[in-house]
Subunit: 346 residues, 2 copies
């Protein structure tokens, strides 16, 4: 059925060893022979059998990517980043997404082992401990946005802390003194880091009473509900910093329904800079997370680890975020494009 190296060898009147040498560019081969072999391989549409090759070379040139239930832009941007980098270095990508529970994720770890050279893991469900238990010693893994992976694995995270600090400083710079923070789920690491950044930056300002923390869970609905709670406060904050954009949008929606103007009556900011952020009215000031870069860097780290072999030092990197100023905090920079400002949607 499938054409093998043996048939190419027969066609080119040489041994399989010579064919292999030509196709892998190793060892000295006469130019004429090489040309003959290449021609034969092309004519027969020969492609080496990956399994056989990986059996002997002990490499699959494939990276495994383990993802949680992820949606929209985050998912696609991340994969894009990983893919671009992997392809440049001639690696393939074995992807497994949308794991809802821990058992499933762990099952996938096992299924992937034996088919990939290394793993990029995003699922917060997968504990480093079980990774170690299910993988061979020294198996290269890059943990992305996962808590507590400092030990045996490389890890990569987004500077949620720094982004939050920057946002608070920006708000303070606009004159806000009482800035509320709409929290994410307590168990979520991104959320807790953002909260930590908020607290630090507020403390930095000196007036302790500036801090107002409101419960939320990252979903749009919780932002919507928070709007009511905020309006019923005795001392209303002049600005609300939501731990993510979805909640910020819910909040915006809630305020506007109640006739509260944004940003005139209250300023709002989010985190993530999801695509919709620029389309709402007013366009949302947010913190941009470099998703594609996160993916690309993860792939880079993994491949570097693969090629360096075992006994390598583990690294822990943090990617910085970028403040994206739109008009939901009252800032007007005058140079925004039509589609970015969304000026026509009101």
């Amino acid at each position: 059925m499938s054409v093998t190296i043996r048939e190419v060898a027969r066609e080119a009147l040489v041994s399989v060893a010579t064919v292999s040498r030509v196709l892998n560019g190793k060892g000295p081969v006469h130019a004429d022979t090489a040309k003959r072999i290449r021609k034969a391989a092309k004519r027969l549409h020969y492609v080496p059998h990956g399994g056989a090759r990986s059996l002997i070379t002990r490499r699959t040139t494939t990276l495994g990517v383990l993802l949680p239930e992820l949606h929209g832009e985050f998912f696609s941007e991340l994969i894009r980043g990983i893919d671009v980098c992997a392809r440049r270095k001639e690696y393939h990508l074995l992807v497994s997404s949308s794991h809802s529970d821990r058992a499933e994720s762990e099952e996938m770890v096992r299924a992937m082992r034996g088919r990939v050279d290394g793993l990029i893991v995003l699922s917060p469900d997968v504990r480093p401990h079980t990774l170690k238990a299910n993988l061979p010693e020294q198996f290269p893994v890059v943990l992305v946005n996962t808590a507590g992976g400092q030990g045996a694995f490389d890890s990569l995270a987004v500077d949620n802390f720094g982004g939050a600090v920057e946002m608070v400083r920006h708000m303070v710079g606009l004159g806000h003194r009482r800035i509320a923070f709409l929290q994410g789920p307590a168990a979520n690491r991104d959320a807790s880091e953002r909260l930590r950044g908020y607290r630090d930056a507020i403390a930095e300002q000196g007036h302790a009473d500036a801090a107002v923390e409101i419960a939320g869970d990252f979903r749009e609905e919780s932002g919507y509900e928070a709007s009511g709670r905020i309006l019923s406060m005795k001392r209303r904050p002049s600005a609300v910093f939501a731990a993510n954009d979805s909640m910020a949008i819910g909040l915006l929606c809630g305020f506007q329904e109640k006739g509260v103007r944004v940003p005139q009556d209250v300023a709002i900011a989010g985190f993530d800079d999801i695509p919709i952020a620029r389309y709402v009215t007013p366009p949302l000031t947010s913190v941009r997370v470099p998703i594609a870069e996160l993916g690309a860097r993860a792939a880079e780290l993994l491949i570097a680890g693969l090629e360096a072999g075992p006994g390598r030092r583990r690294t822990r990197e943090t990617l910085s975020t970028r403040l994206v100023v739109r008009s939901s905090c009252g800032e007007s920079d005058g140079a925004r494009s039509r589609s970015a400002s969304g000026s026509g949607y009101g």
Copy 2:
């Protein structure tokens, strides 16, 4: 380094054959022996080497997915659909995305062959002809949303035609008699099918002068520009049906900037039902494309083809779309949810 079946056999005091039989559930093995083997395998964290296995079984239990430069929700939904189905049937996914040019796509076809049992191809760049040239005879392929793949491969498409017809009928039902169509790029198959549906549905109505076709290219900007051209027409249409949501949003933006009210002065509808569609003001009436279902069905078809073996009949399927009525056409159904109606964003 990595533990092999031989070590499991030694540990369990049996031969490799027996280990293999137990782990694959074939052939009669004494219950005690089986238990001992399973225990040993678990203790050693044994996982079979995929390459070795695929060498002898001639299967990789992996599906290849070839994608063009794809963004956001479309990409993630599609992969999710494919992934869910593939995992249920115990297949893995080798993904290769964002191919910009034809040469690159074709290179990937070759790179994947030899590592996968079948291919799901979305890239319109990849011509069926080159697929045939670069793949073995009878290699299972499912073509998604690709023109002219009727011949040697299974193929799957979205019912762009039917969706467009349905939308026009909906508009007519709302009383519109002069309905303009904002076209997509001429070379794009989705676009041309939508145009065809529009024309058919308009013709169905009897008054030929109802048809007004305006050039566009699927990008938001082209929708924005079209708004000007429409307003300068002698006989303005009472409704505009854009070939995709991005253009519809550009159009909406353009109209509102010029003080034209939607839907009171002019109705607007789009196609695709992208997530932003429900967030603009007014929320956009659109045609929902079942992306995840498209992916899942593609995987299903491919796996069915794999398991049926060669000599199977090729199928050509079409997935139907669904009209999503929001308020940009003036329809009010009264039962819409807060977030779906977006009532708070104006």
